[in-house]
Amino acid sequence: MFASLAREARFLAKDRGALFWLILAFFLSCAAVSFGIAEVREQRETIAALIEEDAADRANALETQEDWGGAAYYAFHLTYAPPSDFAFAAMGQRDSSPWKHRVRMLALEGQIHEADTRNADFGLVGRFDFAFLAASVAPLLLILLLYDLRASERTARRHDLLVATAGSPFSMWLPRALVRVTALALLLLIPLWIGAAVEGTSMVISVTASGIMIGALLLWWLIVELVSRIDASASVLLTSLIGLWLALAIVMPAVSKAGIEAANPVPDGGEILLLQRETVNDAWDLPKAATMKPFVAEHPELADHAEIEEGFEWKWYYAFQQVGDQTAAPLVSEYRAARIARDRQAGLAALLSPTSLVERAFERLADTDALSMIGYEDRVRRYHAKLRAFYYPLMFLEQPYDADVLKKLPDYDANG
């Protein structure tokens, strides 16, 4: 076996066509990994700079405040989801969902859906990251490396002679294909491993990711092997394989996506905002009790301090901000549930498409999938709740304003 592998490796070294695809694979992998690392670094730098500017801006805003309400109104707080140590390989949903916000104690629904816009053209085309390379491009390269193993020998009229002398067809084609698949996998993975070492990715994740990619390549190898048993010319084989690739990599995901989205309608996001804003705006004209009653239902501990005597009081103002969130809450959880349902079904549908499966698996490992982004939004919600828990006792129990107390403002915990 070793002898035949060595022989095939020598053949490969002389096959200029095959070498071209392999070098291309290596070059693309290097590019994908370095683009990824550069992007992740830039995002980390952005976050680091934002943390500083955010603190300075808050200090600046709080300097001139004279009451709790003003402090809560003018002090913004940065929330963010830092890229994981594997995000360089799969940027995933970080390109379409926001991963940084600045929130304050006003109604959260008015703030959390703000998308920190990126160039729209970018979101349209997508990025060249390793997940895309491994999921979509690598199978094409594998097809191009393997499709004419048999057919080229047939064209050269050596096929039958080779098969006859090799003993079993197995010992003939297996080493030849194995050498090519191994070379392709290694050339794709080596840059990934270097990237993982640079980024400090955990061993488990690197090994899992490599396993996923190798598994997908083996699956595509099987497909190529089955198709190329058909006794047809190389170009017919290649055409059929490209057709299969299109079906599995593009058509199947597109059809599943359309089906899933039709089956799981998400509430119109605009409705959430509309409802929340209407509630907040209407509160100004309603009797104060109409706001304080649903508020106290959520915060019974503040019931004794929820009497509004003046025309304008901060605690009433923040109470109707919260009531705005409360009113929109059913729609919000519907929106969230629909996103999760879509994602779960997309996970099932991905079983029909190896490219979707690989890309989703990479996003899962990199914490850049839809669930991770929803997880980040949940963290923002928890932090916002902490802000309310911090200010409410101060406002409602009418504690005298003391700027030093604000030093104990809750900190956002990116991992919490």
Partner: protein
Amino acid sequence: MSSVRRIAREEWRLWLRSKVVVAAALIVAVLIAVTSILTANRIANEQAQRVEQQVAAEQTFFAQPDRHPHRMVHYGHYAFRPPPPLAVFEPGVDAVTGQSIFLEGHRQNTAMFADTKAAADLGGFAALTPASLYQLFLPLLLIVLGHALFLRERESGTLAVILAQGLPGTKLALGKAAALLAVIAMFMLPLIAVAAYSVTLGERMLAAFSLVGGYFVYLCAWGAIVLAASVLLTQRAVSLGVLIFVWLFAALIVPRFAINASSAAVDAPGKIESDLIMLAEQRKLGDGHNAADPAFMQLQAEVLEQYDVETIEELPINWRGVVAAYSEAELTDLLNSYAEERMRLEASQSRIFGLFGLLSPTIAVSSASRAIAGTDLATHHRFLRESEALRFGFVQALNEKHAAELDYAIDMNRNADEAARLRARVNASAWQVLDEFRFAPDGADERLGRAGGSLGILLAWLLAAGGIVLVAARRVRL
């Protein structure tokens, strides 16, 4: 001429006998038909829905009861962007940007709820549109059909006979090109139908025609590339491999590389980053809610002098409304300067991206197609600018009402008790200041002008590939 036609007809006869070719062509045709119908349906729904939402938002605004005018500034309004007629073919950036904006005083919000945020995630290129089929699939079909177009004669030994009969290589190539051209013309029919449909939806003939023309040039350029490979190379498997590589490069790799490269070349900071810098400047401008803010001292002196009175109480207009209008104007200048800077950076990123069309005709055609359809970044920016003008318009009109129709003393006393609050209102008829907003993309000439560069690049691709075919065919020997 008849020999060219005979060669082309012979080619078609061979294609029709090949199951692979017929199957591939049928599948692509069905995909185009289904996607076109689904997309047209979806866009027609969205169009109707957004126009309805826009009208509904205006009516709700008008229907608000008597209120303090500043309350209406915060009540706000919505701007919706209905898809343009040609979006039935090329939905463009709509799915990524979100199509509605909430407009309120003192803030420029971003467009919200992009479809992609809640989309089912199936990886790379999950959404199929008629445009993406034309950009990605049809070149592949041309490759499958045409990779052996010329070299077939060489492989089967008929090339020698044909040349010996005195038919020049160029004529043979011309015949093959005519065969491929007929395929392209056939596949232009669905696009022509969609374009004609968009004209019935109100699109200008010029734009519809240019879109068809742009894709025709694009497909012809691919046809020429395919033909060139089949003239220059001598084995069909090699020719197919090389062409697949060219496709992989042009359709999948370069566009994504170009995204990475243009975002690395021009650093466009996110909104949070620029907002942070802006907030510091904004604080210096003073808070328009607080008419006693020292930032307004100079304004106060000027206004008092203008009306020749000593104190703000003596002014014939409401000082708080004056401050609100003044600070809104100052703030809007500041917001706009940041917004313009951000849009400028994004536009230059997209320009760099467009230049990669020199490496990939797919980039050139997709840029041209978005620009002509009115679903490109520039149209999104136009929407942002126009909705901002709408915002500033109604906020300032309300501030004027605040200054002119609400007495200062009553306004200052508004929080005293319920009766005082009710006195500090203006009649709801004042809400009629809101302008009607119906977003429409640029005129056809302007969109075409934006697409000019990309269309030029496409034409250059066609000329270059056609030139190579011509030179190679002239030199063809055995």
